[in-house]
């Protein structure tokens, strides 16, 4: 049988963001797969160096639409560490509250997307309908559905009152009932099981070798969660379980995420019921003293790492973001090869990819040893686009 190569992406209905997967097909089977990143590079890290710390919070929030709170919490945590600021307990609790609401929103969204990838649009519509309850909670607290802009250096911006607490608890009851229904649905509906079981296998050894993170790693039966391993904020005082699955396939990833939803509701209830009193923020000067810090944060998609270097000014010297999706891409290639073409969308979706999160890395070619400065890169860019007939040389930065 002749092999054909098909390009999945950068424009493809299964991908919500542009990214390219070249698949070599032998009939319906995938012989070889390769991943090409870089369609979404926005230069956010460089832009961070041009702005003040306060402006960076809102910029880094836009690294990802779904883990917006994760990225800012991680960045703000680093800055607070450099400035040696201890934030009030109430602010910590509110950050966790937002973080867990965000996890619930992200996992419900993912469940819908995964259902859509296997053609189960009814489940997609149901989960997105129920996700509205989480978005309502987020809007109730922060004033926006997606980009909450809740963090500032030294605490959070908005407090919650008794009425808001009741509203959130009411919605948690609805969500818990719905999530229990989804647990039953995904473990009993034959077509869902047929499409997820034994698909995209990633054995424990491979997952560790390829540095998978988050639900992808936990579905390969590795108990790894930053919230437990290296507790930040006040996660060490909360009671929750790390969910793992031993099936190492897409079904395991669905299973882990659905049960994490229930754990998230549990954490949200604990926070609301035992919210510490006190201030929600402390004042931090604009100028951050010299120093560097690395922050780890368990985003809905896995471990998020930020590195911040400060040089005693109002602007950071360097900000580096390692989004969880980048760590998981190495496993995707392994999972795709040997599988069916029909399973490609769900296997890619199973790591919950966020392409724009990922696309800020440069690929270093081992052969070339010369290095480029920022200006060299800019000139190269101008040359590149000149060949395509677009002149950027007059654009001022």
């Amino acid at each position: 049988m002749p092999k054909i190569t098909i390009p999945l992406g950068p424009q493809h209905p299964a991908l919500k963001e542009p990214e390219n997967f070249m698949l070599v097909l032998e009939g319906e089977r995938i012989d070889k797969a390769s991943i090409n990143l870089g369609y979404n590079h926005r230069g956010i890290e460089k832009a961070c160096e041009e702005r003040t710390y306060i402006q960076d919070i809102y910029l880094l929030e836009r690294v990802c639409g779904i883990c917006s709170h994760s990225h800012t919490s991680c960045f703000v945590g680093c800055v607070e560490e450099i400035a040696k600021v201890e934030i009030p307990e109430r602010a910590q609790a509110l950050r966790i509250l937002m973080g867990e609401l965000e996890r619930a929103h992200s996992h419900l969204l993912w469940l819908g997307v995964a259902a859509h990838e296997i053609g189960f649009d009814t489940l997609f519509m149901y989960t997105w309908r129920d996700r509205e309850h989480v978005l309502d909670c987020l809007e109730l607290i922060s004033g926006n559905r997606i980009h909450y802009a809740m963090n500032i250096i030294g605490g959070v911006r908005k407090d919650i009152n008794a009425k808001q607490k009741n509203e959130i608890l009411k919605r948690m009851d609805i969500l818990e009932e719905r999530t229990n229904y989804y647990v039953k649905l995904i473990t009993q509906e034959p077509t869902i099981l047929a499409r997820t079981q034994n698909v995209g296998l990633l054995p424990t050894q491979e997952a560790l070798k390829r540095n998978a993170v988050g639900p992808t790693l936990r579905a390969s039966n590795v108990k790894s969660d930053v919230r437990k391993d290296d507790p930040y904020l006040m996660y060490d005082k909360l009671d929750f379980k790390v969910i793992t699955a031993d099936s190492c396939d897409v079904f395991g990833r669905v299973f882990v995420r659905v049960f994490e939803l229930i754990e998230s509701y549990k954490i949200i209830r604990q926070i609301i019921n035992y919210l510490p009193t006190g201030a929600i923020a402390v004042k931090v000067p604009w100028k951050i003293p010299e120093g560097a810090a690395v922050g780890r944060y368990e985003a809905p998609r896995g471990e998020d790492i930020h590195y911040v270097k400060a040089n005693d000014s109002i602007k950071p010297e360097r900000v580096k973001v390692r989004a969880p999706t980048l760590a998981n891409f190495a496993s995707v290639r392994y999972m795709l090869e040997g599988g069916y073409l029909a399973d490609v969308p769900i296997v890619i979706a199973a790591i919950d990819p966020c392409m724009s999160c990922t696309d800020r890395s440069l690929v270093l070619d081992g052969e070339k040893t010369s290095s480029y400065s920022w200006n060299d890169l800019r000139l190269m860019g101008i040359e590149f686009y000149k060949k395509k007939g677009i002149d950027f040389s007059k654009v001022k930065i």
Binding site: Q55, L140, S142
Partner: protein
């Protein structure tokens, strides 16, 4: 355990329940009190300290001296570029006099770009 047609009861139940979606432009969507929409400006409060300009991550706001002359004190105009504004509300937080505030106005789409450049006087 596999149960064929597991989703059937739920689907039939939903067939006869009220749809969750709304006919948006005909039925208005509701927002909560805390919603951060278009920023509104109260000229009499502004002292021209430029704090909002300094915190704005999108460089969407400008405070300029007003053209109208007033005997008692200096007054300022606010230039708001909704093309750039990301509705984070940082300017409203930074304002020491509450001259800037988030409103609940979110239907801001325009066909003409120039209409998005607001000049609060």
């Amino acid at each position: 355990m596999k149960i064929p047609l597991r989703a059937l009861p739920e689907v039939i139940k939903n067939l006869f329940s009220k749809p969750a979606t709304i006919k948006y432009p005909a039925v208005k969507a509701e927002v909560f009190d805390a919603f951060r929409g278009r920023i509104v400006f109260t000229q009499s409060e502004c002292i021209g300290c430029d704090m909002c300009v300094r915190v704005c991550p999108a460089k969407a706001i400008k405070i300029i001296p007003s053209e109208q002359t007033h005997a008692e004190k200096k007054i300022f105009d606010c230039l708001m570029d909704l093309n750039h504004c990301i509705f984070c509300g940082a300017c409203a937080d930074a304002c020491p006099k509450n001259a800037l505030e988030s409103s609940q106005d979110f239907e801001l789409a325009q066909l003409d770009k120039t209409k998005l450049k607001l000049h609060y006087k």
